[in-house]
């Protein structure tokens, strides 16, 4: 039943917030709902880790060590984001960027967004997966245009059209998979991932390869893979900061998760290298383009959104490599990236809000002005560019090690990209954090607690991965296919 709760709670929460979201209590309700979701997720995690994977609603919902990781991640980041947005959005409202109606819309859509993601993660039905992803697109489109500024509307429009088209292509892919499964399973079960996975060797390879093309282009658009990443920076930069955090931290993960699930369906024969190769190619392209696009950025949030492109590319690449080590590294990287990147967005949002601009050339002396924000921004950027002892370094380290065994020629490119990302991001961060402040010292914002909490978790991932976690991720890695 927990499995049902995990999707019901946010849905109910969305309904409630649709009613009370504009009131001051809306923030607390939001936090409460997210907390409840996290509790449910926790309960479910315990059950999965004890008894292994299980399903509900006649196999429509399904949970295993792989997607439980992302469910937990989603619930966790959702909670911390709601905590962050309590302070942040209040200030936004006080600054007059939002009116009550928009606030209500924000809260309702926020929970709806969480709902769609959790549904996409927990469903066993690739059709419902598609519907949930589309739902996520719709709900976030409204969040991106929350401020109704020209820029935000443009961003929302881009997002809507691009992801719409992408999703549509993914639907074609889904149809083809359904068609492939149709022969083996008959009309009713041919959409259930578990069943498909059971008969994956009977699925026609020709159809599956074509299907995977549509799927990776479709969901890849959503995951912000190059060259379909055009929407991503705009959406991140123009939407409200909590959204940027959840987009980077969660939605991209969910899209990548979908791709991984379909990759796992590919039969283990010669043709099955095709999905892997595709993912490696897109991943590598994203890493390089993402890293090199960091160079010319002036907008704080755009900077970090391009780094998201880079990191999703890295994870995709690792999944493409396949094998227990690479998959393990990829999952670790997704985890580390969600936590770090959301913390980075919290920090940068806070900094931008205090400074009143997102233009990095006009932000300086944060360390003097608000030490907490300064340290949060500095630490998050250092973590995101893969400096030890943070977890992102651990995963990048493992990915490189795995790449050297399977595709050595890619390593120089990856190392180059990592170096460029370091140089570009750190140069900017240093210029913002250090130097003399142009304004008086402000009191440290409480919202950044969550940022530091995330960083602490990432630190643990980098220094000492708990045994339980290691075993759990190893299981998940095996599920993610060869």
């Amino acid at each position: 039943m927990t499995l049902l709760w995990i999707v019901l709670i946010p849905l109910i929460g969305a309904a409630i917030l649709g009613a009370v979201g504009h009131r001051n209590s809306g923030f607390s309700v939001n936090i409460a709902v997210s907390a409840a979701t996290l509790l449910a997720a926790g309960a479910m995690t315990v059950r999965v880790l004890r008894g292994g994977s299980f399903s509900a609603l006649d196999h429509e919902l399904f949970i295993d060590p792989l997607n439980v990781i992302l469910v937990d991640l989603t619930a966790l980041v959702a909670l911390s984001t709601s905590v962050f947005s309590r302070t942040y959005m209040r200030t936004e409202a006080r600054l007059g960027h939002l009116n009550a109606a928009r606030l209500r819309l924000y809260h309702a859509m926020y929970q709806l967004f969480i709902f769609t993601m959790l549904l996409a993660l927990t469903t066993n039905n690739i059709g419902i997966l598609w519907i949930a992803m589309e739902g996520a697109t719709l709900s976030t489109a409204l969040l991106i245009s929350l401020y109704r500024t020209p820029a935000s509307l443009e961003a929302a429009w881009k997002y809507f059209i691009l992801c719409g088209v992408g999703i549509a292509l993914a639907l074609l892919g889904t149809i083809l998979v359904y068609f492939a499964g149709h022969a083996a399973l008959g009309a009713h079960r041919a959409l259930l991932w578990t069943r498909l996975h059971g008969v994956k060797d009977e699925l026609d390879p020709a159809v599956m390869t074509v299907a995977f093309v549509f799927l990776i282009v479709g969901y890849g658009t959503k995951a912000g893979l190059v060259p379909f990443h055009n929407w991503l920076p705009d959406a991140h930069a123009e939407g409200p900061t909590p959204l940027s955090a959840t987009l980077s931290g969660l939605l991209l993960n969910v899209a990548l998760y979908a791709i991984v699930r379909f990759k796992a369906l590919a039969p283990d024969d010669a043709a099955s290298h095709w999905p892997g190769r595709l993912m490696m190619g897109f991943g590598l392209a994203s890493v390089l383009v993402g890293a090199f696009s960091l160079g010319g950025q002036r907008d704080l949030k755009r900077l970090f959104s391009y780094s998201s492109v880079e990191h999703m590319g890295l994870a995709t690449f690792a999944f493409g490599l396949g094998g227990p080590l690479a998959n393990f590294a990829a999952l670790l990287h997704m985890t580390g990236h969600s936590l770090t990147k959301s913390s980075a967005f919290f920090a940068s949002g806070q900094v931008a809000q205090t400074a009143g601009t997102k233009d990095m050339d006009r932000i300086t002396g944060v360390m003097d002005r608000a030490p907490a924000s300064g340290w949060a921004l500095m630490a998050s950027s250092l973590a995101i560019i893969g400096t030890p002892p943070f977890g992102v370094f651990a995963s990048e380290f493992l990915i490189l090690t795995a790449a050297l065994r399977k595709a050595p020629w890619t390593v120089p490119l990856l190392v180059l990209a990592l170096g460029v990302a370091f140089a570009t991001i750190f140069r900017r961060t240093q210029a913002m954090v250090f130097g003399t402040a142009d304004a008086a010292r402000t009191r440290t914002p409480p919202a950044l607690i969550v940022s530091f909490a995330h960083l602490a978790l990432v630190l643990v991932l980098g220094l000492a991965i708990p045994h339980v976690l290691a075993i759990w991720y190893a299981k998940a890695a095996r599920l993610a296919g060869p």
């Binding site: 370094f393 050595p408 190893a474």
Partner: protein, 670 residues
């Protein structure tokens, strides 16, 4: 930690724990100012513990340990062997002196800065200690990068001035690029581990891998780049003269004395203990890189007019000499001449110790000068020997040590290096046997230049007459500073006077690395060392010098009654006008600029005939800036611009991408 781990480990870990506690404690300084004075002395205590651990490790057998932390399948491994021991000793002793100096230095700083420095400094010390004992790639890299980060934060202590920020950025950037190279080196080795071991990243496992020569060569090159970037090897040295001067002087001392050596340590660790027997070309390129670094460092330091920049370039020069020694050792062991390899390695390691001591001494001294005068520019200093006599005396010891003249320590390592070079005639290849001894000539040239540079440094800062009025207010540095200086000066004298003892300390490390017994014999109860019957006995020299000088003094004193009469300087009868008539740093560097003009990028401004206020300026820049780094930066900017073009403004274009990609992939489907 698993028990029992042995005394050295306990000492080391207690030091690390102590430092961590102190680091956290220094966060409280602004709130509890009373504890401020205790912070740095405690750090010094930890340093002593580390030194103790080093000595024990040098004496005893290697001790390994495994910590519960780390990655799944790759917990943190630690190993204390002779090499680690030697560097721990170096690090501990130097850090102790620097902590003492900081104890006085920080008393003057206001509390927020003191607390930040206390935090970062002790984290740095802890990470340094761990770098020397890490025994698997992952923990090594973690400690390595923590070290880089904390030192970066120390470099940008005064982050309000832009120069400091850019220097710090350059420092961390090159450090990180180096770290990536090191990571790649380890990963490549691990990738050639026997199948079935997914994470063969402990040093023992890496040692077990048997890469073919090409791979081993690649790993070595990567290691040379990575660790060379840390050690300041040309052309990766550009960060050094930027970062070392802007840091607070005690930090500069730590950077020069210890952090550069960490690069050396890593190079030795990889080249001698992780990789199979070296190929001759490894030694050749290392030797070439070392000599090139030494020469350019010496040249550039000779033309500096900022005292800390001058010292920074001289650090580059010394690193070059050390690396040259390592290259020689690689070359010898490539041809199986283990004993000679050990000899060259002893020379290099000895120089590591010496440089740590005298460069630390000189940087701490500049710190005292800087504090007393607020002036870094040589052109505005002078005559300080009268204002701060004790500092001046201790600095003179450092000066003579770095100049490489007997009977101080600088000379011993120079002597050993030259002896090692002479052994090169034993190499089987004629061109090597003929060519390598020329390296000795270069070494001698560099030593000579070093003397030139340091005379310029000492003579202009401490001797002559004050070039600025404000120097009259300069005061002698505080007791803590002088204690730090004194400790390092004493070390310079001891290591200079008792080479046999020092070599006895180094020998196990050299032997463990090369597997050879260095042909350095100790005679006359340790007073004398000899290579191939050619001896060097500093105590005897001291004795002879002392006796004869004493006789001279007595003779003259007996004849003259009372102290010498004072009179104005003669100066060929020309009246000695203002202090500005004295030679400046630029003037002192002029012969070098003249002789080595082709190697330098000189910007010279001479006064015209009708200049309202005629003044002469000569600035010398690093050729590598224009030659290598600016073009590189421009290239990257171009690529960035290209990436920006790649991102379409219009939705239609990105839809076109989607369509094109779709068509392409469908066409490609197998």
């Amino acid at each position: 930690m698993h028990t029992p781990i042995g005394l050295p480990w306990e000492l080391l870990l207690s030091a690390v724990v102590l430092w961590s506690v102190v680091a956290l404690a220094s966060l409280l300084i602004p709130h509890v100012p009373r504890m401020a004075p205790a912070i740095f002395p405690l750090g010094a205590l930890g340093a002593l513990l580390t030194a103790g651990a080093g000595v024990l490790a040098l004496r005893g057998p290697p001790i390994s340990t495994v910590s519960p932390l780390g990655l799944p399948g790759l917990p943190f491994h630690g190993r204390l062997d002779a090499l680690s021991g030697l560097f721990l000793l170096l690090f501990g002793v130097t850090a102790c002196a620097i902590s003492l100096d900081l104890a006085g230095y920080r008393a003057r700083e206001h509390y927020p800065v003191a607390s930040r420095i206390g935090l970062q400094y002790h984290i740095l010390l802890a990470s340094l200690a761990l770098v020397f004992v890490a025994a698997d790639a992952y923990s090594f890299l973690i400690a390595w990068e923590v070290m880089a980060l904390s030192s970066y934060f120390l470099v940008v202590t005064d982050h309000h001035t832009p120069v400091v920020r850019s220097a710090g950025f350059l420092y961390l950037l090159i450090a990180h690029v180096g770290a990536l190279a090191i990571l790649a080196a380890f990963a490549i080795l691990a990738a050639h581990a026997p199948a079935g071991a997914p994470l063969a990243l402990t040093f023992s496992a890496l040692r077990a891998t048997d890469p073919d020569p090409a791979v081993a060569g690649l790993v070595f090159i990567l290691a040379l780049i990575g660790f060379g970037a840390k050690a300041g090897l040309v052309p990766l040295h550009v960060w050094l003269p930027e970062a070392h001067p802007v840091a607070p002087s005690p930090i500069s001392a730590l950077l020069s004395s210890v952090l550069l050596k960490v690069g050396i340590y890593g190079l030795l660790r990889v080249a001698f203990t992780l990789l199979p027997a070296p190929a001759p070309w490894w030694g050749l390129i290392t030797l070439a890189a070392g000599l090139g670094t030494a020469l350019s460092g010496a040249l550039l330091s000779a033309v500096q007019s900022d005292m800390k920049r001058l010292l920074a370039y001289s650090s580059i020069e010394n690193i070059g000499l050390i690396v040259a020694g390592i290259g020689l050792a690689l070359l010898f062991s490539a041809y199986g001449l283990k004993a000679f390899a050990a000899l060259s390695l002893i020379a290099a390691l000895y120089h590591c110790l010496n440089h740590a001591f005298f460069k630390g001494l000189l940087f701490l001294g500049t710190g005292s000068v800087l504090h007393a005068t607020g002036e870094r520019n040589l052109g505005r200093l002078g005559g300080l020997i009268h204002r701060m006599p004790q500092t001046a005396f201790l600095m003179l010891i450092g000066t003579l040590a770095i100049a490489g003249v007997p009977p101080l320590n600088g000379f011993v390592s120079e002597w050993l290096t030259l002896q090692a070079f002479l052994k090169a005639t034993a190499l089987p290849r004629p061109y090597l046997a003929m060519g390598i001894p020329l390296g000795a000539a270069l070494t001698a040239l560099v030593a000579g230049l070093a003397g030139y540079v340091i005379v310029k440094f000492y003579g202009i800062v401490f001797l002559g007459r004050p070039r600025e009025a404000k120097l009259a207010q300069a005061v002698e540095s505080g007791p803590f500073e002088r204690a730090g200086l004194g400790l390092l000066a004493a070390l310079c004298v001891v290591t200079g006077l008792w080479p046999a003892g020092v070599i006895a300390l180094i020998r196990p490390a050299a032997q463990a690395l090369t597997g050879g017994e260095a042909p350095v014999t100790a005679g006359d109860h340790g007073a004398r060392i000899a290579v191939a019957h050619a001896g060097y006995a500093p105590p005897l020299l001291w004795l002879a010098l002392g006796i004869i000088a004493l006789v001279g003094v007595l003779v003259l004193r007996l004849r003259s009654s009372g102290p010498a009469r004072r009179a104005p300087p003669w100066n060929c009868g020309h009246p000695v006008a203002g202090a500005r008539l004295q030679d400046t740093a630029e003037g002192f560097g002029q012969p070098i600029r003249h002789i080595f003009a082709p190697f330098l990028d000189i910007k010279c401004r001479r006064p015209g005939l009708d200049d309202p206020e005629p003044r002469y300026e000569a600035a010398v820049n690093d050729r590598f800036w224009e030659g290598l780094y600016r073009p590189l930066a421009r290239g990257f900017e171009a690529v960035f611009a290209g990436a920006r073009v790649l991102r379409p403004r219009r939705i239609a274009i990105s839809l076109l991408y989607v369509l094109a990609m779709l068509v392409a992939l469908l066409a490609l489907t197998p």
